[in-house]
Symmetry: C2
Subunit: 243 residues, 2 copies
């Protein structure tokens, strides 16, 4: 059991989608922000590990279970806990509580520490993560295996200037935006996500030609983001029909 | 002189651009959010004017003067004042203060009240805006005249699902994102905006084919966003070279 950290948030208008709910990619950004706040609170801010160790945190996988998404102007609470870590991976959970205090979204995530210059993952230094009081484990938690898409629809996507963040790469949250756009507007207008499994494999830079590929089978969509024939991210989303 | 309202904000990682500064479109969203907070505070929230009058606030113009943009993690203050109004237009200013208390951005904006169903502007009811204590004026404040672009570069843009907000239209802030994308990455990497004049003329819906057209002349860029040959928004941006 790691230390828990909790903060509150009110969903602004400009972060709502057509369903008057929080934009799902924004929820991921928000979760990441809360984990940064916890690090700052514990004296091991992102800035500090960068200046002291030349390291940056990178998310490699997300798994979301969604009862419902926060709605416009809802006052939610976001709780996070760095649950466990092994040699290479750190596992962090987030729980989103609705304004009645009920759990509405559960997110599990996998982080690695990257050397900023080599862009290679480094072994997690015990001392560095000690303040989180996470359990050290041997086991590597495997996410789902994503099957290769056989006959996807393909949606050409241009990287926008504002898709990039201050690292100069496409911000993590944008991949999920692109995945949505490979589905038909009619489908998106009538369905909301129930579970999401999302894996990042390769960063995307300014000027890249990006394809968002998808296969929809009933209420399950499978996604790939590719550049130059290489997979940058994969996802599996289970949808349900809107009430 | 209208009533002033001030709130603070800390710039999160995911709202920074490659210059480690706040994304300019996000600053506009944020300003809008602060004006909504003032309305809520004065008992005339957006929800209330919608349910009581079937009206929504729409921004038609912005003018920005930028000394510098807020940087990552900077604690800024945003002050707003509904300065004046006439029969159809309400004029609202925003000032962004940096963490040393210095003025870093000034924004003037023009709002109209739209009937939600007819999408037509209505006369501003004195009673409705009384709580802001804005001065009633006769004069219509004219923004700059935007000249028609003679020989622009043209950038085809797809409307993303998450470009839409809960009104089902493209969110105002997205037009500016698209305007940036009509300029060369090299130019955007080396320049930052100094003044922006931005005018909205027509809403954009899901499924629209959008062109972002631009002409760059030295440090001045002129922009048009068009759908089906009709102009939806225009802008003029003065840039300066990054330090």
């Amino acid at each position: 059991m790691g230390k828990k950290y909790k903060t509150s948030y009110s969903v602004p208008f400009y972060e709502t989608d057509i369903n008057q709910q929080i934009k799902l990619p924004h929820l991921l950004s928000l979760a990441l922000q809360v984990s940064s706040q916890q690090s700052l609170d514990l004296g091991i801010s992102d800035d500090k590990i960068f200046s002291d160790y030349n390291l940056v945190w990178i998310v490699t996988e997300y798994k979301l279970d969604i009862v419902r998404l926060p709605h416009y102007a809802e006052k939610i609470e976001i709780e996070t806990e760095a649950v466990a870590y092994n040699k290479l991976f750190c596992y962090r959970d987030f729980i989103i509580y609705g304004e009645e205090g009920e759990k509405i979204v559960a997110i599990s995530s996998t982080f690695v520490l990257l050397d900023f210059d080599s862009r290679k993952a480094v072994q997690v230094p015990d001392g560095l993560v000690a303040p989180y009081e996470s359990e050290k484990i041997k086991k590597v938690q495997r996410g789902p295996r994503f099957q290769h898409l056989e006959n996807p629809t393909e949606h050409l996507t241009a990287v926008r200037f504002f898709d990039l963040d201050m690292n100069g790469h496409v911000n993590n949250s944008k991949y999920l935006e692109w995945m949505y756009d490979a589905l038909e507007p009619n489908f998106l207008n009538q369905h909301i996500p129930q579970t999401v499994a999302l894996k990042y494999t390769k960063e995307i830079h300014q000027g890249s030609t990006v394809y968002s590929r998808a296969e929809l089978d009933g209420l399950i969509s499978r996604h790939e983001i590719t550049t130059d024939g290489i997979i940058n991210a994969q996802a599996l989303i289970e949808w349900r029909k809107k009430d």
